[in-house]
């Protein structure tokens, strides 16, 4: 009796762990396979360009909207926090650092994860359950190269560009609040911004963008590719892709910040 309880307990503990390790192994193989396929021909350039347009161009509005408001709110909060110690120069600096180092990459990443990660998982998942992926194989086309590789490359290449756009728009958002709402001097604000501008801040943001792009495309493709069981399976794949990429983006963001900015 007692022995059975222990066995049950251990089973309850062991099954999720075994599943987790299995998933981790699957994912590692998937990553290895994707990276290998990124550097071996044939390359489907047309698919790559299509994905770059989808991920980059069509995400511009959401990235612009989120970063502009992020920049604006940072300006307001910094003003509130520093008003007793000469907030004018602090606002420009804090907006610059917060937007370029953290807000533009993280918000772009999260928005694209919701927009593109979900779409990738849904599209590839539907292709899986309707046998379109098998159909690619029977037409002598490697589905990995045709579907996964272009998406991964597009994610890695395009997200940094989106982050760059987010940088400019976020700083502009802070500027508008500082000048038009808080009545700062425009020339002083711009001067402070330019004086504080450092390439390491921008570069960190771009590096983060590249990692986030990889995470988003990887999670979208992986969950879609492994989905099974009809509409419900595709639904699960979509949810998993967005949740997993959002969490991984935040963890990865912390790690990269920690590696670059703690001395």
């Amino acid at each position: 009796m007692f022995k059975k309880q222990i066995t049950n307990f251990l089973q309850a503990l062991g099954r999720p762990l075994a599943n987790f390790i299995k998933r981790l192994g699957e994912l590692s193989l998937f990553i290895a396979q994707s990276l290998y396929n990124c550097i071996t021909p044939p390359f489907y350039l047309k698919n790559l360009f299509k994905q770059m347009i989808d991920i980059g161009f069509y995400s511009l509005p959401v990235v612009a909207l989120t970063t502009v408001f992020a920049g604006m709110v940072i300006a307001l909060q910094t003003n509130a926090g520093f008003s007793s110690y000469g907030a004018e120069s602090a606002v420009a600096t804090v907006v610059l650092i917060a937007v370029t180092r953290e807000l533009a990459p993280v918000f772009s990443g999260l928005m694209v994860a919701g927009r593109i990660g979900a779409a990738m998982a849904a599209e590839i998942g539907t292709m899986r359950v309707t046998e379109q992926i098998d159909a690619l194989s029977t037409l002598s086309t490697n589905p990995f190269k045709y579907l996964v590789t272009p998406r991964l490359l597009a994610g890695i290449l395009v997200l940094p560009l989106l982050v760059l756009v987010g940088d400019v728009i976020g700083i502009f958002g802070g500027y508008t609040v500082a000048i038009y709402q808080l009545d700062y001097n425009a020339a002083n604000y711009i001067n402070a911004t330019i004086n504080e501008l450092q390439s390491i801040d921008i570069i960190t943001g771009l590096v983060k963008g590249a990692f986030f792009g990889f995470i988003i495309a990887l999670m979208g493709c992986y969950n879609g590719y492994k989905s099974k069981g009809g509409a419900q399976g595709v639904g699960n794949a979509t949810t998993n892709a967005v949740v997993a990429s959002s969490i991984l983006i935040l963890i990865c963001n912390y790690i990269i910040t920690g590696m670059i900015f703690t001395k």
Binding site: M127, D134, A135, L136, S137, T138, L139, S140, T141
Partner: protein, 256 residues
């Protein structure tokens, strides 16, 4: 390869998913230019069988020879050559919905044979005509077509690369009886036209009788009977009789 080498020879094929045994020692042969139909109930492993032959699923044990060459466990490059000679009509059509109808039909020609797009479109329209579709549908998207038309486009795509072996996965499922017969006729004519061998899996007996040179029955992971349509009518095998007559009473127990 001489003329007598069978297109496909399967020996002692085994496949299990976890503890569920799906194929339990399948032996089967398809000759050149022959149309073999594998019948069997739902969930008897018919789909797994053709996926093994096409290399989409790796079997646990056994041998599959294609044109006399072993295909189980060969390296990727050799496999690509072998599998490039196969075509497949999927049950749901499996048309690429991001591409237009003609791009679907000429997919293999554009992506693998590197045919210029203009020429590929002409070829696509030629194959669409062969399956009874006009050039008007070429620029439509697959989702704008009816189920029967999607099957025809799938058939056009399967024959466009001039394969030596074509697989048909439940070609008439979900179609009305008249459209089903149209598809049967198209299968016969298109396969004969390009001189291919055909392996069809179905549980539609009318379709099986019409397109088969030979019929094999798969039950519990084994081929339990095979023969021509005439032999099918004379057989006293109780399993085959029950399946052909569609009776719930008999040696085959349906798990409910």
């Amino acid at each position: 390869m001489d003329k007598k080498t069978p297109r496909i020879v399967i020996k002692n094929l085994h496949k299990a998913f976890g503890s569920k045994i799906v194929l339990d020692g399948v032996d089967l042969e398809v000759a050149q230019g022959e149309s073999l139909v594998v019948i069997g109930g739902s969930g008897t492993g018919k789909s797994v069988l053709i996926k093994c032959i096409q290399g989409l699923i790796t079997p646990d044990d056994g041998s599959i020879k294609i044109n006399g060459k072993e295909s189980v466990g060969i390296d990727k490059k050799e496999a690509e050559v072998l599998y490039s000679k196969m075509g497949m009509l999927f049950q749901g059509g499996a048309l690429f919905d991001s591409l237009s109808v003609w791009e679907n039909v000429s997919f293999g020609l554009i992506e693998n044979q590197k045919m210029p797009r203009k020429q590929a479109k002409k070829q696509a329209i030629k194959y669409l005509k062969q399956v009874g579709l006009s050039a008007d549908v070429a620029d439509l998207s697959p989702s704008e077509l009816s189920g029967g038309m999607q099957k025809r486009v799938g058939l056009a795509r399967a024959i466009a690369t001039q394969p030596e072996i074509i697989f048909f996965d439940e070609p008439t499922t979900g179609l009305d009886p008249i459209m089903a017969d149209v598809i049967n006729d198209l299968i016969i004519s298109s396969v004969k036209n390009i001189g291919a061998s055909a392996l069809t899996i179905t549980h539609d007996m009318a379709s099986a009788r019409k397109i088969a040179d030979r019929i094999a029955m798969l039950y519990k992971g084994k081929i339990i009977w095979q023969g021509t349509v005439e032999e099918l009518d004379k057989t006293d095998n109780p399993y085959v009789l029950q399946f052909v007559n569609g009776s719930s009473q008999g040696p085959i127990k349906v798990e409910i």
